[in-house]
């Protein structure tokens, strides 16, 4: 029984097919994601087929045109199976359906990680997912905007703050938004992009307790919900502890976005309850590191600090949070969220990311439950 017949395969336009110096060895370079792998072919007919593989011929027509023997046909089927799995080859009949899709770029990008036949179902999962963004200021406004650009439709935005003139230097608000609730200003921004596409629930509250967050979310809980902490009042530690507690109760993943007052270029951790080190594990690990340096020292405390910030740094922090969100929802073994158990600093002068790794804390009040 033949595996393929009418499929009209082509090499994906973003993939380069490169002969290597060693005869019979070839590289496939997936340029969107700058990843590559090598294969060796003994039969040059396959090289000729790939060189011409533009989607104009069906599999059956390829067999005829290149006069393949039964064994060569079998080999070609096996080769295509590998190249489909490795996101090199796609069936033009399927991908042509998205030629006028507004989110085609996102789908094509996903197609570098997911075989072409699974791209639509994967994208549906992404677009139907639910981002709960706590704090929609400097970082949160960018996070929502970037997730909306990925096609995510459902947002719950929690923030009681109003837009002020001095927010405009790093948040995505305009002068017309001054005095308005930040959540409503973001809702308006999304509606200027595509009316009716985005579903925004605006909650004009400051988050004081995990109980409140749980009660806000527990009914109608969407299976693909991710919490994103972009709130730094009264402190990121405070809001992260609240979100951690709710995340463990509701069994939801969460991302601690960076970019706050004291962590201007922080790239925060991504956490799945009971699977990765949680906020408390990481805080404990950080305390161990910090204690050595400042043990016995007195910190000079100053009230009402006004720290600097900058639009590109807010956007960079948000871009990491959006990438982590996508990796969480994609849920692929080869593309786990990078920030599991990690905390990074993006150096804006050298543009390098340095990352600290943290282990689960054996006495963590959340994670150690059920530990042997």
């Amino acid at each position: 029984m033949k595996k393929f017949s009418e499929e009209s395969f082509r090499i994906r336009p973003s993939v380069s097919f490169v002969p290597l110096q060693q005869d019979g060895y070839y590289q496939f370079f997936l340029s969107d994601i700058r990843q590559s792998f090598n294969l060796a072919f003994s039969d040059k007919k396959y090289v000729k087929i790939l060189t011409e593989l533009d989607g104009s011929l069906s599999f059956l027509q390829l067999e005829n045109k290149f006069s393949l023997t039964d064994q060569q046909s079998l080999g070609l089927e096996r080769l295509f199976e590998i190249l489909i799995e490795r996101c090199v080859v796609e069936d033009i009949r399927i991908v042509a359906l998205r030629s006028s899709d507004p989110f085609r770029r996102v789908k094509t990008f996903i197609g570098s990680y997911v075989p072409y036949h699974d791209v639509e179902s994967t994208w549906k999962r992404i677009s139907n997912s639910h981002a709960v963004v706590i704090g929609v200021g400097g970082i949160g406004s960018w996070v929502v905007s970037l997730l909306a650009q990925m096609g995510i439709k459902n947002f719950t935005l929690i923030d009681d703050d109003l837009v002020k003139l001095h927010n405009l230097n790093r948040s995505l608000f305009t002068k017309q938004d001054i005095g308005s609730l930040k959540t409503l200003a973001i809702d308006r921004m999304l509606s200027t992009r595509k009316k009716g596409y985005y579903a925004v629930t605006s909650i004009a509250e400051k988050l004081h307790s995990s109980t409140r967050l749980i009660s806000l979310l527990k009914d109608n809980l969407h299976p693909q919900t991710v919490l994103i902490n972009c709130a730094d009042y009264p402190s990121v530690a405070n809001t992260s502890a609240i979100i951690n507690d709710a995340a463990f109760t509701l069994n939801l993943p969460y991302i601690i976005a960076g970019g706050y007052n004291m962590h201007l270029s922080l790239v925060g951790p991504t956490i799945i309850p009971r699977q990765t080190p949680c906020f408390h594990c990481i805080s404990y690990g950080m305390d161990q590191l910090k204690v050595a340096e400042i043990e016995g020292a007195e910190r000079v405390v100053k009230e009402h600090r006004n720290l600097g910030n900058l639009a590109p740094l807010a956007a960079i922090s948000a871009s990491f949070a959006a990438n982590e969100y996508l990796k969480l929802i994609l849920d692929l073994p080869q593309l786990k969220p990078t920030m599991f158990g990690k905390r990074g600093e993006f150096n804006f002068l050298t543009k390098k990311l340095t990352v600290e790794e943290y282990m689960p804390w054996d006495k963590c009040p959340y994670c150690s439950r059920g530990m042997p």
């Binding site: 090499i11 973003s14 490169v18 790093r170 305009t174 200027t192 790239v267 639009a311 990078t338 804006f348």
Partner: protein
């Protein structure tokens, strides 16, 4: 050093964490941690200076701070205060007070002035830097995924004079990569949508528009005079071509270029700063990568029309736009202080957030900027 007076109100700067270690003998240690840059500075001094630092965190006069820490304004104390000011640990005056910039502008950008203060250490230098931003005129080629976001961020940093160049119209699929109002702006000229974006985000903007494409015969004198910097995000016919065309023009007119990343195989590229006769030019980069990739020869792609079939994410083009915005900011605020330096290209990878970096030296035989004949 600012003239010291007992009635002045020096203040410990918000961007510095101060840790005071217990006294050991006649001295004690202090650790200063600069929050933005993460710089650490450790000093040893007499215990009363440690006490003075605590006092400087309170809203009071210098006289009160000195009295409370048992000090007088002698030469030793003056030089300690001078050290704290030069290191950007204290400010001797209100860091937001300046005659260089409109008051409302300073109010809008005050958090950025604090950021500049973190980097430049003195309020006067921060104000001068923000004034350079206020006055700069940026020419931006390409208003797509990277260009539109870069433009938005430049406005958010206080840039306000722009010449914008693009030939295209807003399309439905721009929803996945630009901040444009797709609902109402579809089919509008991108330059027009970009003007609206500037009006939404910039302070008192001045904008010149050119609805044109960048071709071999395009006369770049349309830019007029007094362009502070060209930012290139135009990737048609392809980014290498537009960079070289602009770079050759810029060399003749001594204009710096930021060649932004964010395209095709460079989705989260950091982009390059090209300063005429200081860094490599676009021809030097092209020669470098031509040489480096000479043994990497892909088979001509079987799909002839590949336009629109490359993937991308708003988060990656925004990363590239942000890296270009940082490059522009630091170039403009340090203009006049640039030194000859090699160039580099960085490719940030979505997969694991690693950074592939290539250092690119000037090509002494470069046909555009070379100093030696080939």
């Amino acid at each position: 050093m600012t003239q010291l007076s007992l009635a002045s109100t020096p203040e410990l700067r918000d961007g510095v964490e101060v840790f005071l270690y217990p006294q050991k003998g006649e001295s004690c240690q202090i650790l200063f941690l600069f929050l933005s840059s993460r710089r650490r500075l450790r000093i040893t001094c007499k215990p009363s200076f440690s006490a003075l630092l605590k006092e400087l965190s309170k809203p009071q006069t210098l006289g009160e701070s000195l009295t409370n820490s048992g000090l007088t304004l002698d030469a030793y104390t003056s030089s300690f205060l001078s050290f704290l000011e030069e290191e950007g640990i204290i400010t001797m005056s209100n860091p937001l007070e300046t005659l260089l910039l409109p008051k409302e502008y300073v109010e809008q950008y005050k958090r950025q002035v604090y950021f500049l203060l973190d980097v430049l250490k003195s309020p006067q230098l921060a104000h001068a830097a923000q004034k350079k931003i206020f006055d700069a005129h940026i020419a931006l080629f390409g208003l797509g995924a990277v260009g539109s976001t870069l433009l938005q961020q430049l406005c958010m940093m206080g840039f306000r004079k722009f010449t914008l160049i693009d030939y295209a119209t807003v399309e439905n699929n721009d929803i996945a990569r630009t901040p444009y109002h797709i609902e109402s702006q579809v089919k509008s000229l991108k330059v027009q949508a970009a003007r609206n974006l500037v009006e939404d985000h910039a302070f008192d903007p001045i904008v010149f528009l050119h609805n044109t494409t960048l071709k071999t015969h395009t006369n770049l004198d349309i830019l007029g005079e007094k362009i502070s910097l060209i930012a290139n995000t135009a990737d048609e016919p392809y980014i290498g071509y537009t960079n070289i065309k602009l770079s050759r023009y810029a060399l003749q007119h001594n204009i710096p270029i930021v060649a932004a990343g964010g395209f095709d195989a460079h989705l989260a590229s950091l982009g390059e700063l090209l300063i005429p006769h200081m860094t490599p030019c676009a021809d030097c980069y092209a020669t470098f990568f031509h040489e480096r990739l000479k043994n990497w020869r892909p088979i001509p792609h079987p799909v002839k029309d590949r336009e629109g079939w490359f993937g991308g994410l708003g988060s990656l083009s925004t990363f590239s736009a942000s890296a270009a915005a940082l490059e522009i900011l630091f170039f403009i605020i340090s203009s006049g202080d640039q030194q000859v330096s090699p160039g580099k290209r960085g490719e940030f990878l979505f997969h694991d957030y690693s950074l592939d970096t290539f250092v690119v030296d000037r090509d002494t035989h470069c046909r555009s900027c070379g100093t030696e004949k080939s």
